[in-house]
């Protein structure tokens, strides 16, 4: 999922300055899991905005706002309400905001689309409702087969491919002593699997052209450009 955190109310109000009628669009996908933009959070923010003198004229929460197939069927029927609004505030990831903006353009509406959240990465839920970890950064060149299913590109604070830096202390990362050194985790895992020899291989520099942004995925061809 895409992890999100709530922006402070002061920042939201700043974004909505001069926009009194607000349409709220949440996301019952990732943002719901993060407790930042599901149906409940949209309702709560609606109350808070009303308390701040805003008029919330629409509350909708598509199942996956980042996906036009899910967002369009929810937003299309409420185009009139969107048109009436001074601004749309999206409680979703950056993708959800941009898909919403895209759909308003498709509907022929020129209306500011704002975000109420900060996107903080591709997150994997470890303890539902409590803890999610960043474990993959979609580099386009997965090396998990070589590293015991633990990604050093993401989980090593320096993204090192050839082994640990010298900074680990008692198995913890020099950059954050509450976190395990990714390379020690990899070493222990490969030792348990009897595959330590694999770690001796020179991995070589990463091909960052595969992660050059913005990428486009052609789903049918399985092609990325």
């Amino acid at each position: 999922m895409i992890g999100t955190t709530k922006k402070p109310m002061t920042e939201i109000l700043q974004a909505l300055e001069g926009h009194d009628k607000v349409a709220l669009v949440g996301c019952d996908g990732c943002a719901k899991v993060c407790l930042t933009g599901g149906t409940d959070e949209v309702a709560a923010l609606s109350k808070d905005l009303e308390a701040q003198g805003k008029q919330v004229i629409l509350e909708v929460t598509p199942e996956r706002t980042c996906n036009v197939a899910k967002a369009d069927p929810v937003l299309k029927p409420v185009q009139d309400k969107l048109q009436e609004a001074d601004a749309v505030l999206v409680l979703g990831c950056g993708g959800a905001v941009q898909i919403t903006r895209h759909l308003t353009e498709v509907y022929g509406l020129t209306i500011p689309v704002k975000t109420g959240l900060d996107s903080v990465g591709h997150m994997d839920t470890l303890v539902p409702g409590t803890l999610a970890l960043e474990q993959c950064q979609e580099c386009g060149q997965c090396i998990l087969n070589e590293t015991g299913g633990i990604c050093p590109v993401t989980k090593c604070a320096k993204g090192l491919l050839e082994g640990p830096c010298g900074g680990a202390q008692d198995g913890k990362c020099e950059a954050d002593l509450s976190r395990d050194c990714a390379w020690i985790l990899i070493y222990n895992r490969m030792q348990a699997l009897g595959e330590l020899d694999k770690l001796k291989r020179y991995m070589g520099p990463k091909d960052y052209s595969k992660a050059a942004r913005p990428r486009t995925l052609y789903i049918k061809e399985g092609r990325v450009t």
């Binding site: 604070a157 320096k158 993204g159 090192l160 491919l161 050839e162 082994g163 640990p164 830096c165 010298g166 900074g167 680990a168 202390q169 008692d170 198995g171 020099e174 950059a175 390379w183 020690i184 070493y187 330590l196 770690l199 001796k200 020179y202 070589g204 520099p205 990463k206 960052y208």
Partner: protein, 300 residues
């Protein structure tokens, strides 16, 4: 001169480290900056002087300028190069520049994490890492860049690497050291350890690599410094007993005590390594005394 030449002559190589100033250096007849003065203090006692690269992620004068300055004063610099602040184009370009400016030695490092420094919001680069930098630098020595393009003239740099004898698990660190050797490392400079038995284990396990290892020694100048290192510097563990030993003397005797500790430690460790790399943090003036005492203990 390339350090590899000295190792070939079976010399016990002595190096020391200085950290460039945070500021521009234009001498114009004025006094030399602190780091240059520190290097000049030991010019006749060391074979080469390391110039750090934005050490601890604190922005300073660059190591290339610092290295050139040392050359101008008749010293051999070891140009330290980290992967934190430059991508593969900039690193290769700086290696070409270093060699063109007469630098013979480079120490290829990953670099401290940006969080330790004074620009914590900066984007870390780490496009490549220390093993890959060694591999790439060897390629430049062979006359081609990392994309395989021919150079008009190859570099001729002795390639050094870092090692951390206190790393746990040591076998994982040794695995990385082996990769560095295969990638092109021609000598190692270690982080310090303050227990000779600990170093002995490390020396035994690395002697088969066939690459000279220089023991690195950070001079502990006060009990406070020992504690600061333990709390803030990755990869160095200063034992409490050493901190207490420093604390057992009045402040004005710290330098004498630090000198005594260095001599004691190096008498045990010098026979097990191919050279000593001092990190004196401003106290380079103790190096001549230390060297005079430990010279008989170098391997014959």
């Amino acid at each position: 001169m390339k350090l590899t030449e000295l190792f070939r002559q079976k010399k016990s190589v002595i190096t020391s480290e200085v950290g460039p100033v945070k500021g521009c250096v234009r001498l114009n007849g004025g006094p030399p900056p602190e780091f240059l003065q520190e290097a000049l203090n030991i010019k006749d006692y060391v074979d080469a002087v390391n110039i750090t690269d934005n050490q601890s992620a604190v922005m300073r004068l660059g190591p290339l300028a610092g290295s050139v300055l040392l050359k101008q004063y008749g010293m051999d610099p070891i140009f330290q190069m980290t992967c934190r602040d430059r991508n593969r184009l900039a690193l290769q370009s700086d290696l070409l520049s270093a060699c063109s400016l007469g630098i013979d030695n480079v120490l290829c490092l990953t670099g401290d994490h940006i969080k330790f420094g004074d620009h914590k919001a900066a984007k870390q680069v780490f496009d490549i890492d220390s093993v890959q930098l060694l591999h790439i630098a060897r390629g430049l020595n062979e006359g081609h860049d990392m994309s395989g393009n021919q150079l008009t003239k190859a570099t001729n740099l002795a390639l050094g690497a870092a090692a951390t004898p206190s790393f746990k698990p040591l076998d994982l660190h040794l695995l990385k050291m082996e990769k560095k050797v295969k990638a092109g490392a021609e000598f190692f400079q270690t982080q310090p350890v303050y227990d000779p038995r600990h170093y002995e284990e490390f020396a035994r396990k690395t002697e088969g690599f066939g690459v000279p290892v220089m023991f690195g020694l950070v001079v502990i100048k006060s009990p406070q410094m020992g504690r600061f290192i333990n709390d803030n510097v990755a990869g160095i563990d200063v034992p409490e007993s050493l901190i207490q030993e420093m604390a057992s003397v009045p402040k004005e005797q710290y330098k004498a005590k630090a000198t005594e500790i260095c001599i004691r430690l190096l008498k045990d460790i010098a026979p097990m390594c191919q050279g000593i790399h001092f990190m004196p943090f401003g106290w380079s003036d103790i190096i001549p005394t230390v060297l005079a005492e430990i010279k008989p203990y170098f391997p014959k």
